[in-house]
Symmetry: C2
Subunit: 390 residues, 2 copies
C-alpha cells in the first residue's frame, strides 16, 4: 500500500518514533487520527496504524477496499486487532500510547480495551513532537508548496477589479489557488475552522475571532466567524492576503499586504517594522534560539516603534508571532513568550509580525522558514512591499 | 451575545434538551464542540455552554473578546467554571453529560474534574438525537440553502468547456457556489474530510475512498483521497455533481448527473431507476416509516432492475441510501438496513440512490426532503434528467 518513493521517508519516521518510544519506555503506539495516519503511512485510510517500539509496523484498514502490502490487515472493527495479535502470536504492548489529545473519550476507552495494557501514554504529544522536525521528503514538499504559493501570489493583482468586496476578491484568489494545485483542505489542530485562508480588508481586521489564528475578521456567518465579511474595497484601506499554501499536504504560510490606492503614512511605517522584525529574526535566529526570544524581540521592536497597541490585533491581540507548519497550519513550536522550545534543525516555521491599524486595516508580512544547521532559510518568496491594487 | 431573531429558536432547543436530560436523569450538559455550541447559542465561540436540566443556561467564553449578555462569563481555562459556580452559589450537577464521542480523552478528564460528578453521561448522543428533529428556524435555513443550491446547479452547464478535466470543471463550480453565498466549510461528523463536495467523472467513480460518503473517487492527493482526480471530460462519460448546499449553516444535499455527449443506454436506464426509487420513497414514506425499509426498498428496486452490482458503488458499495442532514452532512438518521430509527416530523434527510457503471461513471440523483406531519416534502429542486453538457 506504500508508494516506492515514500518508503525511505516512512522508514526514517518510524525509526525516529521508535527511538522516542524506547526512550519513553513505551512498547507501541496505535494511531487513527487522519494527519498521523498520513504522516506514518503516506496516505489517509480509515483504520489504525500500529507501531511497536521494536519491529515492523502493522496497518489495520477498514476502508478503502483494495489496499495490499506486507502487514496490511483488513478489519471491520478495532476489536479484531486483538484477535489478529492472538492468532499471529504477536506480543501485546504493556505500555501503549494513544492519541489522547485528539481521539474521543469513547474511542480511547474502546482502543484501550483491545490490549488492556498495564500503562497508557500520550501518542498525541509523541507525534506532535516528532512531526516538528521535518524529514528531507517533507522539506521537499514545502518547497513545492512554496513555488505554487509564490506563483499564486504573483497573480493576485490580476484578481482585483474596482468595486469589489473582500469576498469577491477572495473568491477569485481561491479559484487561482485551485488552478495552481491547491488541494483545498486547510488542516488545523484543534477546534479551528478557516476556509482556504484569510483576506482582511479595512476595519474588519479589528474584529476578534474565536480562533487562535494570528488575526480575526467577522466572516459571513456566525458559524464561521473569521475572515472576509463583505467589506467594500474602497480607497485608503489595506487588504491583507493570508491564503493557504496547501499545494501539497505540507502547507507553506505566507502573507502579503495590498492597498486600494495610497494608505496613510502610519501603514507604511508599521509595514516596514514588520519587515524589520522578520529581517532581524532571520539574521539572528539559529538552532538553539529560544522561541520565546523571537516573540520577545518582535514585541520589543513593535514597542520601540510605538506600535504596541496595534501589534497582532487591537481589540484582541494574538500572543504569538509565529508557529510551526506542516500537515497542519498550527504545529509546534509556537513563537510565544511562554514557549520552552528552542529552534532545531529541520523545523519549519512561519513568522508573521502583523499590525492592525484602525480605519486602515492590517499590514505586515508573513514568510515560512526552514531552520538549517546554522540559520533560517526563507522558503516562501514574493515581493515584500505593500502593493497598490489600483 | 444572542441575536434577537434567534432567541426564540434557542429557547425551543434548550427546552427540548432540558426535557431529554430530565428524562435521562441528567442534571446538566457541558458542551464545547463547535457544532453543538452553534446549535445551542447561535454562534461559534471558543469556550463552553452549560445547560442545566432546570434553569438558565450559562455561557463560558474564552474567545472572541467583546461578547456580552446575561450569564456570559469570560474564562481563560475551564477550571474557572468551578470557581464561578462556587462564588455564585450555583448547584453543581450530580450527573453531568459531556460530548464523549467528540471531545478528546484528555479534555474529558479535565472537564469531568471541574465538577467531579457522581455520574457521567453522553452529551454527544443527546445532541445528535435532538439535532435530528429540526426547529422551524432551522427548516427555514434549509430552504434558503436550497434556493441558492438550485440557482448554482442551474448555472453548472455554463461552467463547462470542451477539453476540461473534472478538476477544471469543479473549480468553476466552486467559484459559482462562493459567489452564490457558500460559506465554504463542509462539516462532517467523524474523521471525514471532503472539500466543497464531489465531482465524479468516468471510471474515477469506481475508486474506493476511505470515507463513509456514498461514493468515492481518487482525489488529487493521498492526504485527500476522494473526489475528482484530473479525469479528462471526454465524450461518452457521465459527470456526477454532488456539491455542498452550504449556503447557510444548514446544508442541503443535492446531486445531479451530467453527460459529455450521449451515454450508453444502460446509463439512462440506471438513472431512471434512481428517479423511480426516489419517487417511490417520496410517495410511500411518512412519519413512522422505518429508515431500514427505505434502504431495503431501494436495494430491492435496484435488484429487480438487475443493477445490484452497480448500486452505491462497484469495488466498494456504500450500505446506505440516504442520511439526515443539518449542520453536518452526516447527521442521523441513516437510511441503512441496520437502522432502528423511524422517520419523524421535522427530520430533514437526503436520499441518494446512485449507480456506478464501469467505463461510464456514476448516475442517479439526490434530493433533500423534510419529513412533514404526513409525508416527505422535497426541498431541493432542479431538473432530474441527465443533462448533456456538449
Amino acid at each position: 500500500m506504500i508508494q516506492d518513493t515514500l518508503i525511505n521517508d516512512l522508514k526514517l519516521k518510524w525509526e525516529r518514533l521508535q527511538l522516542a518510544m524506547r526512550k519513553a519506555g513505551a512498547d507501541a503506539c496505535l494511531l487513527t487520527v487522519d494527519v498521523n495516519v498520513y504522516y506514518t503511512t503516506g496516505r489517509i485510510y480509515s483504520g489504525y496504524f500500529y507501531l511497536p517500539a521494536e519491529g515492523a509496523p502493522r496497518f489495520f484498514v477498514k476502508r478503502p477496499n483494495g489496499l495490499a502490502g506486507e502487514h496490511v490487515e483488513y478489519i471491520r472493527k478495532p476489536e479484531q486487532i486483538a484477535e489478529i495479535f492472538a492468532a499471529k502470536g504477536i506480543k501485546t504492548p504493556e505500555k501503549l500510547l494513544l492519541e489522547v489529545d485528539e481521539i474521543s473519550y469513547n474511542d480511547y476507552i474502546r482502543l484501550k480495551a483491545i490490549f488492556n495494557p498495564k500503562e497508557m501514554g500520550n501518542a498525541s504529544t509523541l507525534l506532535r513532537t516528532e512531526r516538528m522536525i521535518k524529514t528531507p521528503w517533507e522539506i521537499e514538499q514545502f518547497r513545492i508548496s512554496a513555488r505554487h504559493h509564490a506563483l499564486t501570489y504573483a497573480e493576485i493583482p490580476s484578481c482585483f477589479r474596482p468595486g469589489m468586496t473582500d469576498l469577491d476578491f477572495q473568491y477569485e484568489i481561491e479559484r487561482l489557488m485551485r488552478k495552481n494545485g491547491s488541494i483545498g483542505l486547510f488542516r488545523a489542530y484543534g477546534n479551528m475552522d478557516i476556509f482556504m485562508g484569510s483576506i482582511l480588508a479595512g476595519e474588519n481586521a479589528e474584529t476578534p475571532s474565536p480562533y487562535d489564528f494570528a488575526l480575526g475578521g467577522g466572516g459571513i456567518n456566525s458559524s464561521a466567524p473569521i475572515g472576509a465579511n463583505g467589506t467594500p474595497l474602497k480607497e485608503g484601506i489595506s487588504v491583507m492576503v493570508d491564503m493557504a499554501g496547501n499545494f501539497t499536504t505540507y502547507m507553506t504560510d505566507m502573507t502579503r499586504t495590498f492597498s486600494i490606492g495610497k494608505l496613510p503614512d502610519l501603514a507604511y511605517r508599521a509595514h516596514q517594522v514588520s519587515l524589520d522584525i522578520i529581517h532581524e529574526v532571520q539574521q539572528t535566529a539559529k538552532p538553539g534560539t529560544p522561541c520565546a526570544n523571537i516573540y520577545n524581540k518582535a514585541l520589543e521592536m513593535a514597542g520601540k516603534a510605538g506600535l504596541s497597541p496595534y501589534f497582532m490585533g487591537t481589540k484582541q491581540q494574538a500572543k504569538f508571532v509565529g508557529h510551526g507548519i506542516g500537515i497542519q497550519i498550527n504545529e509546534p513550536p509556537v513563537l510565544t513568550s511562554r514557549s520552552k522550545d528552542l529552534l532545531s534543525p529541520n523545523m519549519v516555521i512561519a513568522i508573521e509580525p502583523k499590525f492592525v491599524l484602525p480605519d486602515i486595516g492590517a499590514v505586515g508580512i508573513e514568510d515560512s522558514f526552514l531552520v538549517t544547521e546554522s540559520a533560517l532559510e526563507q522558503i516562501t518568496h514574493s515581493p515584500e512591499e505593500i502593493i497598490n491594487l489600483l
